[in-house]
Amino acid sequence: MEVMIQLKVNSVIYELKIDPARTLLQVIREDLRLTGTKSGCERGECGACTVLIDRQAVNSCLFPVIEGEGKEILTIEGLARNGQLHPLQENFIELGAIQCGFCTPGMILTAKALLYRIPHPTEGEVRREIAGNYCRCTGYDKIVEAILAAAD
């Protein structure tokens, strides 16, 4: 039984007719064709699907899409403004914090949520915040460095 919902993603309002049982991740990737948000485990255990909902980091693979109505949803595609990269993106690129890149969108958005709350975090605060973001390539060092550099 499909329903009509309205989603605001990256400041764009979408009118969608969808199965209400679907997750936000599925709708973002399949209906909106925004594939920057990744699906790593479908169980909320890896953080690859992280998006921001009203400035809070959320595992979109566990988030029912209908709960997204009336909220500000931000995906990785919405981070750069008018071709200008966000400092997090710039620092990730510059400091070699991107290897395979699969965890990158989730990591960057998780970091953004942290910086909203704590504009100048300590290394410990950064590590705690990204403890729910799995990375298999980097050992996390350069990611932490990039987040701290973006905070400055």
Binding site: K38, C41, F92, C100, G101, T104, I130, D141
Partner: protein
């Protein structure tokens, strides 16, 4: 190859594709879609060992949205090929696309293609299967006993059918010198049995593939693979298709660590379904299926070492029982590789290796970062530590005395791939590493809590850079091709088939093109390409991206450059020998005002009808230079909980010329992370009775998070590899190999507990402390 002044290589630069990854623009295999795409799902066995007596697909076929349901009856009776890496006479085949007999929990019984994944999932539940369960065996030692359940009766090696007895895939025996004599001459003999665990590659990307049928029975494939050419050969072979009808497209991977050297079953299954239905078919493994499709071979290793009082090695005997799971995707090669790594660790006049690869009713294992070396290193480096203590010699000194060095023999892929070491930074790394960690302070175990003890441990290791050798190997292929062309706007295009799984190989290749042609790094385009336009390349494995694939890129660039210089010499009216290319211009040496831009050269060539600038090369490396590594760790062991916390790590690598320091450091840190996981946490577990996986998800399969990682200090040795492109070697696997032994040695130093089977869990520490 002589050293020369480099403009781009050797520094730090941002990777070409990093921008697209940071914005989410870059598409991985799972991000690619086609109109009218169908979704494939595989029905998997709930039994670890059973005969598939009957499959009733009628109800599944009736479900709205289902377009095809296939079982073993419908697929070609062609044994499937998995790893196009071995010479054809050596290739191992022991499976079909779908099985009549299932050999592990999760083995493939049937497949469905439907209009959406939920319908496909529902269809699986409507397939009725009658199984005849068989008794199963999960332990490799049990599996070889007479009377154990027979997992495979026969297999194929090349064109020959071979009988499989006692679940043994293959055996190997090598002896150098006379070990019995060597043991007699030793002052001390030490013997131990070590066991390693079963970690999963666990890349964040889940394997995905789309097969798109085209005109004339052709097929386009986009999928997660470390080798588009091997994937093409595997799919064509499994389906009985002419090779040229299959075209595999290169896609960036989200990690792999060996999981995609081989082509599995999902790719040819989707290919078959797409040809059957005439529609694109997409398959994507769930995370649980990822835990069923790859992993490091557990090894039971017996190591006997004979050594003189002064620390000189006299004899070593190493026996390996290598477990491969229910299918041997690469035959017995991991065991054979283990033999080669063992022979390459230390100088010893008398060495013997025996090994066997064994089937068990568990999901098939594959390559995983290090391919036998992490296992071997754990045994050898733990034992060296024990020897050092017994003899009263400093562990670092013992390594310095005995390590394989420049001029020694090195076995790059088992005993058949042999070369001579031409660069070695081990001594420098050991000395600098000991200094950096504070090795002379390791007798002090006190911390601010009396029940927590501090300790330090170290290990050294290496890995190969590719599988090259002076003569072509009898069992493994190792060559790469590349094409470089220059556009009319002075930019260059790199056309090759090497894979980038995250290590940065393609941006490294772009840097090589830029360095060689005298372009700015930003002016090199990496074309994704496919099997139609690229030259053959083997899977990008064995840390060969920079070295093996890089050699072809450099050669192709050199050829393109020769064409450029010849035409520039005509435009500038100067001799080719007097020309140098830099930053997009070609100068006359000593005459800075006499130059022409590369853009102008190519434009002139076009308008004058001289032709195009291009170069191609296909290179079989004639060496496999090892990259050497060390790992020093400082740990805290809590004697109340048994928990081992790694506080600091000093890791070093000898990579020859580092092409991009960011990438080298990234690999070292990533290798450390995976090595620490192997040491302390990572293991896939199975129910003892049913063989059902107990932790096929990220909640229960533990890896180190950002909070668990130690502080890392990195050392890069100052060496130059004469056979390498710009003097470079690999780094990806060497970075992980010595970590587990370093941690085991540190735990021993802290609390006197020697753990010989991985992982070093807190239960084992507590038990040993009692």
């Amino acid at each position: 190859m002589e050293k020369r002044e480099l403009k781009i290589i050797g520094g730090r630069f941002s990777r070409a594709e990093a921008l697209q990854k940071a914005t989410g623009e870059l598409k991985f295999s799972a991000d690619i879609t086609f109109p009218h795409m169908l979704h494939a799902k595989i029905l998997r066995s709930p039994y670890a060992h059973a005969i598939v007596k009957h499959v009733d697909i009628s109800k599944a076929l009736k479900l709205k949205g289902v377009r095809a349901v296939i079982t073993h009856k419908d697929v070609p009776k062609i044994p499937t090929m998995h790893q196009f890496l071995h010479v054809p006479s050596h290739m191992f085949y022991d499976s079909f696309l779908l099985e009549e007999k299932v050999r592990h929990y999760g083995d493939r019984v049937a497949a469905v293609a439907a209009t959406n994944p939920d319908i496909a999932e529902e269809a699986l539940e409507l397939i009725e299967v009658e199984y005849e369960p068989l008794s199963a065996v999960f332990d490799p030692l049990e599996a070889t006993r007479d009377g154990a359940p027979v997992i495979h009766n026969r297999a194929r090696r090349g064109e020959k059918t071979i009988e499989i007895k006692n679940n043994i895939v293959g055996v190997r025996e090598i002896e150098i010198g006379d070990v019995e004599k060597g043991f007699r001459e030793a002052d001390l003999i030490i013997e131990n049995v070590f066991r390693t665990s079963r970690p999963n590659n666990a890349p964040l990307e889940r394997t995905a593939v789309i097969c798109v049928p085209g005109p004339g029975g052709s097929l386009d494939v986009y999928g997660t693979t470390q080798g588009i050419h091997p994937m093409r050969m595997n799919i064509a072979s499994a389906l009985g298709l002419p090779l040229h009808k299959v075209n595999c497209h290169r896609v960036y991977l989200g990690g792999s660590f060996g999981a995609h050297i081989h082509t599995g079953w999902i790719e040819p299954i989707c290919a078959f379904l797409s040809l059957l239905t005439g529609k694109p078919v997409r398959g994507e493994k769930t995370r649980e299926e990822m835990f069923l499709s790859c992993g490091r071979h557990p090894m039971v290793m017996r190591l006997k070492t004979g050594i003189k009082k002064d620390g000189t090695l006299m004899a070593q005997y190493f026996d390996v029982i290598d477990e491969t799971g229910a299918y041997a995707v690469s035959g017995e090669s991991k065991m054979v590789l283990a033999g080669g790594w063992f022979l390459s660790m230390y100088k010893c006049p008398n060495m013997k290796f025996t090994g066997k690869t064994v089937y068990t009713n568990t999901p098939p294992l594959t390559a995983m970062r290090g391919a036998g070396n992490p296992q071997v290193n754990f045994a050898v480096e733990s034992q060296m530590d024990m020897i050092a203590e017994e003899l009263g010699i400093d562990p670092v000194s013992l390594r310095l005395k005995n390590h394989i060095n420049t001029g020694d023999t090195f076995y790059g892929q088992g005993p058949d791939v042999v070369c001579v070491v031409q660069s070695c930074g081990t001594e420098e790394l050991l000395k600098r590493g000991a200094e950096a960690i504070g090795w002379n302070k390791r007798a002090d175990h006190t911390t601010d809590r009396p029940w927590v003890k501090r300790g330090m441990g170290m290990a050294r290791g290496f890995h190969t850079s590719g599988a090259g050798s002076p003569k072509p190997s009898k069992f493994i292929l190792d060559y790469s091709g590349a094409i470089v062309k220059v556009n009319e706007d002075g930019t260059a295009v790199l056309i090759n088939a090497a894979a980038d799984t995250g290590g940065g190989s393609l941006s490294t290749h772009a840097a090589m093109v830029a360095e060689e042609l005298g372009l700015n790094y930003e002016d090199v385009v990496v074309y994704m390409g496919d099997t139609n336009v690229t030259l053959f390349d083997v899977p990008t494995h064995a840390s060969r991206g920079t070295y093996g694939a890089g050699l072809a890129v450099k050669k192709a660039s050199e050829k393109a450059k020769r064409v450029l210089l010849k035409w520039a010499s005509e435009i500038l009216e100067a001799s080719v020998e007097d020309l140098v290319a830099e930053k997009g211009k070609i100068f006359v040496v000593g005459n800075p005002d006499q130059w022409v831009s590369i853009k102008e050269v190519v434009e002139t060539a076009q308008t004058s009808g001289w032709g195009s600038v291009a170069g191609e090369a296909s290179i079989r490396p004639d060496a496999c230079p090892p990259h050497f590594t060390v790992c020093f760790v400082e740990v805290e062991v809590d004697t109340q909980t048994g928990l081992v916390k790694v506080l600091r790590a000093v890791t070093g690598a000898d990579v020859g010329t580092p092409i991009n320091l960011n990438s080298v450091e990234g690999q070292i840190a990533g290798g450390l992370h995976m090595g620490l996981g192997f040491a302390l946490l990572e293991d896939t577990r199975f129910d003892e009775k049913t063989g059902k996986p107990l932790n096929p998800n990220f909640r229960d399969y533990k890896t180190l998070t950002a909070l668990d990682m130690p502080s890392i200090e990195m050392l890069i040795a100052d060496t130059f590899e004469p056979t390498g492109p710009f003097g470079a070697k690999g780094v990806g696997e060497g970075a992980t190999n010595p970590v587990a032994a370093a941690v085991a040695n540190a735990a021993y130093n802290a609390v006197g507990v020697r753990i010989k089977d991985l992982p070093i869990s807190f239960e084992k520490i507590l038990k040993a402390l009692k």
